[in-house]
């Protein structure tokens, strides 16, 4: 799949009201594969921290016996970070306002993940 095709898939996530950007991130490296971000979103920082978060949460959840996470949601005072691992290598990441409709974003992220498969 080309970089433009990846971008088309993730752009659907950004159409949800309150989403500031979406990215496809290499899970092992924390580097951006494709992105569609509003101005002001620090893509490199979000990608690196999202990959680190999923790795650490994954280790903790596996150690506690509940297995690898299917979806990681981090709610902060200024916004929300939503992460969906797609296979072993890629993460779908969305950055959104704190009051975003999480269910709708998650649905779009699942659809995007299907489009990547």
């Amino acid at each position: 799949m080309s970089s433009a095709a990846y971008r088309r898939v993730i752009e659907a996530i950004t159409r949800v009201r309150g989403v500031r950007g979406a990215m496809l991130v290499a899970a092992a490296d924390g580097l951006i594969v494709a992105d569609a971000l509003m101005e002001g979103v620090r893509g490199n920082a979000v990608a690196a921290l999202a990959a680190s978060l999923v790795k650490r949460v994954g280790n903790a959840s596996e150690a506690s016996g509940v297995g690898r996470p299917h979806f990681v949601q981090l709610r902060g005072t200024e916004g929300m970070l939503l992460t969906l691992p797609t296979g072993e290598e890629l993460l779908l990441v969305a950055v959104a306002d704190p009051d975003v409709n999480v269910g709708l974003v998650r649905l779009e992220m699942l659809r995007a993940a299907e489009g990547l498969a």
Binding site: D29, G30, A48, A51
Partner: protein
């Protein structure tokens, strides 16, 4: 806790912050000729000297390649292994160009290292004093300076 050692105290807080945030295992901050001014994680002087010489050599080699392909320079290099990655980054302090060699494990990533490397450089530039006036290089001074630096880096 692995030690952070610095030849010049102003370099310690930025380096400690970088290590804490990036989860780097080993770090060398040095001049392009391999003269180390701060390190984290190394316990033997011989390892520091070898890593500094090899890192400086890699950057010199790729710098020459950059020149051949008419690139200004390569800002950073990353070698990814199965268990460890090596990141080599160039930056500039008021006293001149410098290099950082960072070894990270599976608890970090090149994305994290790159991200916090940018902050490390900003912190170092803010903390670094103005360059001292140049003095003539004497063989005896060089040996004394080298021994003092190694003693500081390893508390020998």
């Amino acid at each position: 806790m692995k030690p952070t050692r610095v030849v010049e105290p102003w370099a310690a807080p930025p380096l400690e912050r970088f290590v804490a945030e990036s989860a780097a295992r080993l770090v060398l901050l040095m001049s392009p000729s391999g003269q180390v001014f701060a390190q984290h994680g190394f316990t033997r002087a011989v390892d520091v000297m070898s890593a500094a010489a090899l890192g400086a050599g890699i950057v010199a080699s790729t710098g020459e390649m950059a020149r051949m392909v008419e690139e200004p320079s390569f800002a950073a290099l990353n070698h990814q292994g199965a268990h460890h990655g090596i990141f080599l980054g160039s930056f500039t302090l008021p006293r001149g160009p410098m290099l950082a060699l960072v070894v990270y494990g599976p608890d970090s990533s090149v994305g994290l290292v790159q991200l916090f490397f940018e902050e490390l450089v900003r912190d170092l530039v803010q903390s670094a004093p103005a360059p001292a006036p140049a003095r003539p290089a004497l063989a005896a001074d060089f040996e004394n300076d080298l021994n003092e630096s190694l003693a500081t880096l390893f508390r020998t």
